[in-house]
Symmetry: C2
């Protein structure tokens, strides 16, 4: 397809597509003559991924570039790529207390989760636990286990639900579901919190 | 306590506290003479709430102001305040397809959730579902139910876990847990996704 059709299919303006091409976020199309190029389904998928990360994920283009670099890392096995792509989704400047790191490691070990060894999600999680503690809210082990169990149910269903496809497609779909499924889960949690608080604190209005 | 002690207890610089006082985000202390004021536990809690919303929640000060206005709305009952405070946490310029709105309403009805009637979380959820559909990922009813069930388990445990306290305290704690518990849940989901993908796609490294 020509760039106009690519724009139509993805709802991304031609000028923005050209910008992504110049920035190397989108691979070049197949050149046809000196000034035209043809694009394919891979470009459609890649553009949707970029827009999802920018618009729904709120990522900067620099961060999107890191995620895409991990997605395109052909030398790693699929599991490593997913872990690394997750890593690129989260801020790099994390610190966390030893206590929270220890709790995270214990939780991962208890659940027997196979985690990409360099995954920054462990530190991210420990940092998030620290943030709760810092405001005086102690996240006890029982509640942490409930979070982990709920997260596991969601993740298993999400991964089971991924369509079969080639490696590139699978990584892209996983990153999309991670980035765009998060808001769905958090919105449902807020609705469920309102329901739980209506039951605990009472309300005539619902 | 004096402002220096308030700063020490909350890790917020004195200059920042003074800025919040000027901006009306933090209520004035009890005046002692012309230039000094005493602060109490309510100020400590309020400062922690502001910092949590700004630092972990990534909210602008304008958005923080909206959340605090809802928290301080004494005329509403507690359940309404929580719904409204949730609303202030999310962007206001949401649109969503009729189809997704209908799915959200059906889900809420099926679960029998009592939701604050003006809660923007319904639209937020419908918009998040639309975002997935737009990138070609269909969130089927079965997966949506799994999200809802997991969200409900988490929310019930979170609300049950809130300490008993006065109305003000309860609202503040709920907003804190909503804002700071989200990253915990999402980090656990990413770790669980890595585990699920290791099982589905195989990996020797973990």
């Amino acid at each position: 397809m020509w760039i106009a059709e690519l724009s139509r299919q993805t709802d991304v303006p031609v000028a923005t597509i050209k910008y992504y091409l110049r920035e190397g976020l989108l691979p070049a199309g197949e050149a046809v003559g000196a000034t035209r190029a043809r694009y394919g389904e891979a470009h459609v998928r890649r553009l949707k991924l970029i827009r999802a990360l920018v618009e729904a994920g709120g990522l900067s283009l620099a961060r999107v570039r890191s995620v895409l670099a991990e997605v395109d890392e052909e030398s790693r096995d699929l599991h490593e790529v997913l872990g690394a792509a997750h890593g690129a989704l989260i801020p790099a400047d994390l610190t966390a207390s030893d206590e929270s790191r220890r709790r995270v490691d214990a939780l991962v070990a208890e659940r027997g989760w196979r985690i990409y060894s360099e995954s920054p999600d462990r530190v991210f999680l420990a940092d998030a636990i620290d943030a709760l503690e810092k405001v005086g809210y102690h996240l006890d082990d029982e509640l942490l286990k409930i979070y982990a169990s709920a997260a596991n149910e969601v993740a298993e269903a999400e991964v089971a639900n991924l369509p079969d496809g080639d490696r590139q497609r699978t990584v892209e779909d996983t990153v999309l579901v991670t980035a765009l499924g998060g808001p769905v889960l958090l919105a449902l949690r807020r609705l469920a919190q309102q329901n739980a608080s209506a039951h605990r604190y009472g309300s005539t209005q619902y």
